[in-house]
């Protein structure tokens, strides 16, 4: 749907985009000149390092820590690791790299920076090895394309997106399959509450998350396999989503690529604002993770909806727009195409407010018309949901209707028990029935929805866009990092030098080398 129901001024829209680029540019520059422990671990994962020590700490962590101890991170881990590999007469394979990690952990390897010819050798070896990893990602992308061709995409827009959150992958799987059978097009496995602050990715199949299941490579694999089964059964490719955000964004993004996940929550600021992760760490991690997603053909979902759980959805509507523009800029810069941009927004206006539904329509349509080629992720009411589940199901219905009227791409299905529990099996069924009713009965009502010229909806949308431009001007003036420090987004104040994970950031030294970035930034050659 690419309409012009709001009569937006193209010059204004262009100006908003240009301002976002200006405001974002310094952050990109910062991201390009820094690395993090997780970026480096992602490089090792791409090189084939797998598994964890007996305490559950992945070998990639042990190896990066060892390298860092010996030579710091400023040159990246690729050079010292592949140099050491050669020095110890090991082959450049995943298995032998893992062996190296084990040795390093045991203290039997010391790392040095190679010099001279050894540099070229290490570069070449590491690039070859990482390229093999990226090839797996490419193959997954091709496989996905094939499966979509075979099984087909959902018949309708928006795609129906459902959450599974038992904490136990073996309870998640049947629930996800049941949800798919009941009509879900996308299944998201919510993560355990603690995971995003873990500076490592847990290993193996897990059964003990709190309000979500750990994101692990094995859990990804199990769930994707289960949904492949469902796709076959249903004749419709069922997509799988997980969460990249957190201290391990680059690695989880990589694992998602390696296990053919289809969408990932990946926001440029969510970790900063809602997990108190250091802003610099986040921006650096984010850029790498998005480059991976771009390559993997994964659709990202951004997190603007979250702002409206802490800030007021009317007062802060323009901050959502600003953030969407920033997320778009960062995404394009990282190589993501428009179809990969599941920009977030939400139905979070206090339902008691007069005209709340029309305000929601105005906001949702603004997003739709600002980003005509992005799928847009439309999030259901959460903040104003209460234990009154009857009312809850009603609000979700009107949320679904806004989704249909404004052509949203991805509809995150709201649950009537939002304020009570993580979704029960029956909640999901009731919620899907709600979506089916609204899309079936009123899915084409957008044809008859014409915001009155200069009426309430148009005026509100114009006002939000104006406020967004004002704010972008301020941000451009004062820097994005300061804006974040001031509580611009979600009323969360996050100074640039506070927050978790800053110690995992390193500035590039001269001669920093990252074979993954190199490959990802010069596409074409390895890509098929």
């Amino acid at each position: 749907m690419s309409s012009n129901k709001l009569g937006l001024d193209p010059a204004l829209v262009h100006r908003a985009r240009a301002l976002a680029a200006k405001a974002g540019r310094p952050v990109v520059d910062m991201a390009r000149s820094h690395t993090t422990v997780s970026v480096e671990r992602a490089v090792l994962r791409l090189s084939g390092v797998t598994g964890a020590d007996p305490d559950g700490i992945p070998w990639v962590n042990r190896l990066v820590d060892a390298v860092r101890n010996d030579v710091g991170l400023g040159h990246g881990v690729a050079l010292p690791v592949f140099h050491a590999l050669a020095e110890h007469g090991l082959e450049p394979t995943g298995a032998e790299l893992t062996l190296l990690a084990q040795k390093a952990a045991a203290g039997s390897v010391r790392f040095d920076l190679p010099t001279g010819k050894a540099v070229t050798a290490a570069k070449k070896a590491s690039r070859r090895q990482v390229a093999a990893g990226i090839k797996l990602i490419d193959r997954n992308r091709a496989d996905r394309d094939k499966m979509i061709k075979r099984y087909g995409d959902p018949k309708q827009r928006p795609w129906i997106y459902l959450i599974v959150a038992t904490g136990d992958i073996y309870e998640d799987i049947p629930q996800a399959q049941a949800a798919a059978r009941a009509g879900a097009d996308v299944i998201a496995v919510i993560r355990s509450t603690g995971q995003s602050l873990l500076d490592y990715v847990p290993e193996g199949a897990t059964r003990e998350g709190f309000a979500g299941t750990y994101a692990t490579q094995e859990n990804f694999r199990l769930m994707r396999a289960a949904l492949d089964e469902s796709s076959r059964e249903l004749g419709r490719y069922v997509r799988l989503t997980n969460y990249a955000s957190g201290l391990c964004m680059p690695e989880i993004a990589t694992l998602a690529g390696l296990q053919r996940l289809d969408m990932m929550l990946n926001d440029s600021m969510y970790g900063i604002l809602f997990r108190d992760i250091n802003p610099i760490r986040t921006f650096v991690d984010q850029r790498f993770s998005r480059q991976i997603h771009a390559r993997a053909g994964i659709i990202i979902n951004t997190g603007e909806d979250n702002y409206l759980t802490t800030a007021d959805a009317v007062e802060a509507a323009h901050t959502v727009t600003v953030s969407q523009l920033l997320n778009e800029y960062f995404a394009h810069e990282a190589g993501l195409a428009d179809w990969q941009l599941g920009l977030g927004h939400a139905f979070e206006i206090n339902p008691e407010l007069p005209e709340s539904f029309r305000l929601e329509l105005a906001h949702a349509l603004l997003a739709r018309e600002l980003f005509p080629d992005a799928p847009l992720k439309w999030m259901p009411p959460t903040k104003h949901m209460t234990g009154d589940v009857f009312r809850g199901n009603l609000l979700d219905g009107f949320f679904n209707l806004v989704g249909a009227l404004t052509g949203q791409g991805i509809l995150l299905v709201g649950m009537m028990t939002e304020a009570v529990v993580t979704p029960w099996l029956s909640d999901r069924d009731i919620a899907l029935q709600n979506v089916r009713y609204v899309l079936g009965a009123a899915g084409n009502l957008h044809e008859d929805f014409v915001p009155a010229p200069d009426g309430f909806i148009q005026r509100r949308a114009h006002q939000v866009l104006d406020e967004a431009i004002d704010l972008l001007e301020k941000i451009e003036d004062d820097t994005l990092l300061n804006a974040i420090a001031d509580g611009t987004f979600g009323i969360m104040k996050r100074p640039a030098h506070r927050g978790k994970g800053l110690d995992g950031v390193a500035k590039h030294d001269d001669g920093y080398y990252n074979p993954a970035t190199e490959i990802l930034e010069t596409p074409g050659k390895e890509q098929q």
């Binding site: 309870e171 028990t417 304020a419 529990v421 979704p423 029960w424």
Partner: protein, 253 residues
């Protein structure tokens, strides 16, 4: 299959259940405590009171979630299972023709002040329901549908006049147990009017009946929500023809 199960929220055995009700109390802490007491008596443990809303002066509506400690014992579940074969219209007609050798006479009505005829019409009229034709479609059945708000004496008279093999009564209104009173009145009237061996098969139906109550209500069979004509026709053939011997025995006893 396991014989003991519990409700399922999102994990096997979690017992999760939702309950709502109104208490005649204004909303305050005490009222919430009262609601939780009731939830505990219902077996919810722990119970979460997730919503309370005062209505008018003296009433509060509550929504409660929690884990119910009761176990469902599958081996003790009592239900009226279909104990007769499901026949096609053709089969029904054949049995009636070959074994009864005359048309089977059916009289239907909605009795008392109840005027909801859609249910009985769905069973009797040609049009039927859910893609199945009603009993009028069955060549070997003679159907008289008296319609709504028929008094019990009118029904008994019609049953006699039509020499009804079976009387089908619908009851939809249940407020103050209207359906139970009317059914009891009806079965008593047939007991009074006709000797046991002349009495037609008495069948009642409606969305809110408990199918286990046949004895209490003095009827032969109860059909509930979502009944289809074919089930009824099959039952008629079973009860009146195929299984007649048993029925005779039962009546004699």
């Amino acid at each position: 299959m396991k014989t003991v199960i519990r409700p399922y929220g999102d994990t096997t055995g979690d017992g999760m259940t939702q309950v709502s009700f109104t208490l005649p109390l204004p909303h305050d802490k005490k009222a919430e405590g009262a609601a939780l007491q009731l939830a505990a008596k219902m077996g919810l443990e722990p119970a979460m009171l997730v919503h309370a809303k005062q209505m008018g002066d003296g009433f509060t509506f509550f929504v409660i979630y929690g884990s119910v400690r009761h176990l469902v014992e599958l081996d003790k579940v009592v239900v009226v299972e279909r104990d007769f074969p499901l026949l096609t219209a053709k089969e029904v007609n054949t049995v009636v023709k070959q074994k009864l050798r005359r048309k089977l006479s059916v009289v239907g009505a909605c009795i008392g002040t109840d005027a909801h005829t859609v249910g009985i019409d769905a069973i009797l009229n040609l049009k039927g329901i859910a893609g199945e034709k009603g009993l009028e479609y069955y060549r070997e059945l003679k159907v008289v549908n008296l319609g709504a708000q028929i008094t019990v004496p009118e029904l008994v008279a019609a049953a006699k006049a039509e020499k009804a093999d079976a009387v089908l009564v619908s009851q939809v209104v249940t407020q103050r147990d209207a359906h139970l009173h009317n059914t009891r009145e009806m079965s008593a009237a047939f007991r009074e009017a006709l000797p046991a061996d002349k009495r037609p098969l008495l069948i009642v139906g409606g969305p809110r009946f408990d199918e286990l109550m046949t004895d209490e209500l003095g009827v032969d069979r109860i059909f509930g929500r979502g009944t289809t004509p074919r089930e009824v026709a099959s039952y008629l053939v079973h009860a009146l023809i195929t299984n007649k011997a048993e029925r005779k025995k039962a009546v004699a006893a």
